[in-house]
């Protein structure tokens, strides 16, 4: 694992280009300090996020996955986040069947102007993941 062990956990974020990625930019421009664990993957729309990406990330080594899109009814592509919401809500309920704590996955909505909200989302989710601890602890110990 290439994250800084002991200080960070592995958190992957899928952010839609129009709202949440912009919101994260706004947070940066406003210098809203956040934990450093999150790594951001830019997607055009939260509707582009295949739930299997989330599963893949979690099974391959991530400790938490965050998906963030535009607020419902404010999607740049009109309906993309509605599809995202259905799929991701399903996924959340499916995760325990895969042996994954559903709290390791979170989806939310942050608009491009909500820098402060983005900071809170990142801070809260990172805190929640740290409380859960590393997901792949066993493998790490045997390695």
């Amino acid at each position: 694992m290439s994250y800084v062990a002991g200080k960070e956990l592995r958190i992957v974020g899928f952010l839609c280009n129009w709202c949440s990625y912009g919101g994260a930019d706004t947070a940066g421009v406003g210098r809203f300090k956040q934990p450093t664990d999150l790594r951001i993957i830019r997607v055009p729309c939260s509707g582009r996020v295949n739930p299997l990406f989330v599963v893949k990330a979690l099974l391959n080594g991530a400790d938490g996955v965050l998906v963030s899109g535009c607020h419902p009814r404010d999607c740049h592509y009109s309906d993309g986040n509605f599809y995202a919401r259905r799929r991701l809500e399903m996924l959340k309920r499916l995760l325990p069947f895969l042996g994954i704590d559903e709290r390791r996955f979170h989806y939310t909505w942050v608009s491009a102007s909500e820098g402060a909200r983005w900071k809170n989302v990142v801070t809260d989710f990172t805190k929640a993941i740290h409380e859960l601890g590393p997901f792949h602890q066993k493998e790490e110990k045997t390695e």
């Binding site: 930019d25 997607v43 996020v49 391959n60 404010d74 009109s78 599809y83």
Partner: protein
């Protein structure tokens, strides 16, 4: 594959909290990276030159720039690599400023995060395919939503530039808020005198097609080719016959209709023309006040109309217009007095809003320009103005400044003194914000020449005492409380987004902020663009602004439209969905989910039915991509392989 990584210091913005030398060193170790370097300002001309030279010298075939947000400079660097002979989609950007150096406090962690962000971009870049844009024809007509001063300016500039303009105005006349004002600051010019000619130009311009009393029903399409459905609301008066003579208004027995134009200062008739200079000057019936509609019998206007224009059976009509670009100038609203219970909440007739006072001052208003207080029509001698009535007040959800109230209060104080020389105005203010050209001088004139007494402090309560209104407030400069017995109180009510601003934004697919104002593409550098290409903003729908700023934005938006229409074709974004027909099983799931109707069925020569993406209609969201059960449809530049390469770069190593 030979990837080049260019790490930007961005002065101290990145290098201050990220060890860029260490990042470059780590980048050199990444598989596929042939070259990595740092540069002070990569976006500068020498910085871009360095990329171009390195591409040639090191024979790079993929380029990663680690710097600011791709929303900032992706296009800049795409052009750079293109000039060096690479396909522009062989470029990737790693955001190590907004998402890293600016938000993390620990240099070690930041440096590691920057390295990982670059690793992710390198893995993506290695998967990138060459994409080529195609061109499509555009419809050089423009839709302007809103006929206030910003919208009219935009419409006129576009029309003068030779474009066909469709102007849609919600109310029965163009003119917007400016048409309601008496005078304008800081020149004390008559508002309608300078706006009237523009309104006439709009109605007479052969290139402008005006839909008054109409609303946007539906918007479909994309830049260059929009299909707009416009709802022409029923006026119950045939405007092709109506001459605006006013005979119907004279005879109308429903005399207690709400006067939308005058903000309810005085009642209107159920059939009315909003104001004498209205364009178009046609009558309309407010059905909720009309006896014919409420009681089912009256018909007075129909009887007296000399041209037989009244038609009680009229229905809303939907018309369709095709345009290539949209300018949104839908304006602003004002908070209701009932949001301000400490100021009476609208219960006291002699506590009115600034715009109502504007109508009272106006010669074409209900009092013909004589200042009378609403309760007993007496001439007020002591007038108190309260600025920031709602503005800059987090407790009612309006944290922002309404921009122009300081100025119009000064203007109204001056006009009050002009109208009633023995009157005394008091102004309660938090700060005087007079930042425009000649503005500060103007507020000083109000105080020094016209004797308005400015009191720095807020008003805590307004209550009646006999015929007077007692205004209780603080004077924070003297450190005392103040009580003024006023004849009339004018509240500078806060500017808000229009009630239907959010609905319109959803139709346009543009974003709005937490206050309902539309969000521009970049607050400094793209102030009239939105994130939806082909949709532009003008005026107060983007945030409270005064007349010169609105006019400036109207012209700016028009210039933007003229510039995209200066070409006959537009380049389509190649980041769209493509179908691998060998894999597609023709399940049609993508067709059902596409929000743009961009996918159709196609029969191959062997008879198989597969999906086909209509290139110009696809907007590139990728919903179909995550819907497709067999991965046959892939969003270019964001394919499953590309995104999984990023996931794996983060998780597997």
């Amino acid at each position: 594959m030979r990837v080049g990584v260019f790490i930007c210091h961005c002065g101290n913005n990145i290098a201050g909290t990220v060890d860029v030398a260490k990042v470059a060193e780590a980048a050199r170790m990444m598989p596929g990276v042939a070259f990595a370097t740092t540069y002070m300002y990569t976006c500068s001309e020498p910085g871009q030159e360095e990329i171009k030279e390195a591409i040639k010298r090191e024979k790079l075939d993929r380029v990663v720039v680690a710097a600011c947000s791709p929303r900032m400079h992706e296009l800049t660097f795409r052009r750079t690599v293109e000039k060096a002979g690479l396909n522009r989609y062989f470029f990737e950007m790693a955001n190590i400023r907004e998402h890293c150096s600016w938000v993390g406090e620990d240099k070690e962690l930041n440096t590691n995060k920057a390295i990982e962000t670059i690793k992710l971009a390198v893995e993506k870049a290695k998967q990138n395919k060459s994409l080529v844009a195609s061109r499509f024809k555009i419809n050089k007509r423009v839709l302007v939503i809103g006929g206030g001063v910003a919208g009219m300016q935009a419409a006129l500039d576009c029309a003068d530039g030779g474009l066909d303009v469709v102007l849609v105005e919600k109310s029965p006349s163009v003119g917007g808020m400016m048409a309601r004002l008496d005078k304008t600051f800081p020149t004390v010019d008559c508002s309608i005198c300078i706006l009237g000619p523009k309104m006439v130009d709009v109605s007479q311009h052969e290139k402008i097609n005006l839909y008054a009393y109409s609303e946007i029903e539906e918007i479909k399409g994309y830049v260059g080719n929009y299909q707009i459905k416009i709802r022409k609301k029923a006026t119950y008066v045939d405007w092709s016959k109506c001459t605006g003579c006013g005979a119907c208004i004279e005879k109308c027995p429903s005399r207690k209709a709400y006067d939308y134009f005058n903000f309810g200062v005085a009642p209107a008739r159920a059939i009315n023309i909003p104001f004498p200079q209205a364009i178009p000057k046609k009558a309309k019936i407010d059905a909720q006040f009309c006896r014919q509609f409420i009681k089912g019998k009256c018909g007075v206007c129909a009887k007296f109309c000399p041209v037989g224009a009244i038609n009680y059976e009229m229905q809303d009509e939907i018309v369709t217009e095709d345009v290539g670009a949209i300018i949104v100038a839908s304006g602003y609203g004002l908070i209701d007095l009932d949001k301000l219970p400490e100021y009476g909440g609208g219960r006291y007739p002699d506590v009115i809003s600034g715009i109502q006072y504007e109508r009272i001052l106006n010669a074409s208003g209900p009092t013909s320009g004589h200042i009378e207080r609403p309760s007993d029509q007496a001439e007020p001698k002591t007038i108190v103005f309260v600025s920031c009535a709602g503005s800059r007040d987090k407790s009612i959800g309006i944290p922002y400044c309404s921009n122009f109230c300081c100025m119009y209060i000064a203007k109204q104080a001056i006009l009050t003194k002009d109208h009633i020389p023995d009157s005394q105005s008091y102004v309660f203010y938090m700060d005087i914000r007079a930042t425009g050209k000649g503005y500060d001088e103007f507020t000083r004139r109000a105080q020094e020449e016209y004797g308005a007494k400015y009191i720095r402090g807020r008003v805590s309560r307004i209550y009646p005492k006999g015929k007077k209104m007692v205004v209780k407030g603080a004077d924070t400069l003297l450190g005392t409380t103040v009580e003024i017995e006023a004849d009339l109180v004018v509240l500078a009510t806060a500017v808000t987004a229009t009630p239907d601003a959010r609905m319109l934004a959803e139709k346009l697919h543009i974003s709005y902020d937490q206050n309902g104002f539309y969000v521009e593409s970049h607050p400094k550098l793209r102030p009239v663009e939105t994130n939806t290409s082909g949709v532009f903003l003008a005026g107060a729908c983007q945030g409270p602004k005064d007349i010169p700023a609105s006019v400036g934005q109207g012209s700016a938006a028009a210039a933007k439209v003229l510039s995209i229409f200066s070409k006959d074709t537009l380049e389509s974004d190649p980041q769209i969905a493509r179908v691998n027909t060998n894999v597609c099983v023709g399940c049609r799931k993508c067709i059902g989910t596409c929000p743009f109707g961009a996918i159709e069925e196609q029969q191959l020569r062997d008879g198989r039915i597969v999906a086909n993406v209509i290139e110009t209609v696809c907007a590139g969201c990728g919903i179909c991509n995550s819907t497709c059960p067999c991965g046959a449809i892939q969003l270019q530049h964001f394919t499953d392989n590309q995104l999984l390469a990023e996931v794996n770069a983060l998780c597997l190593t």
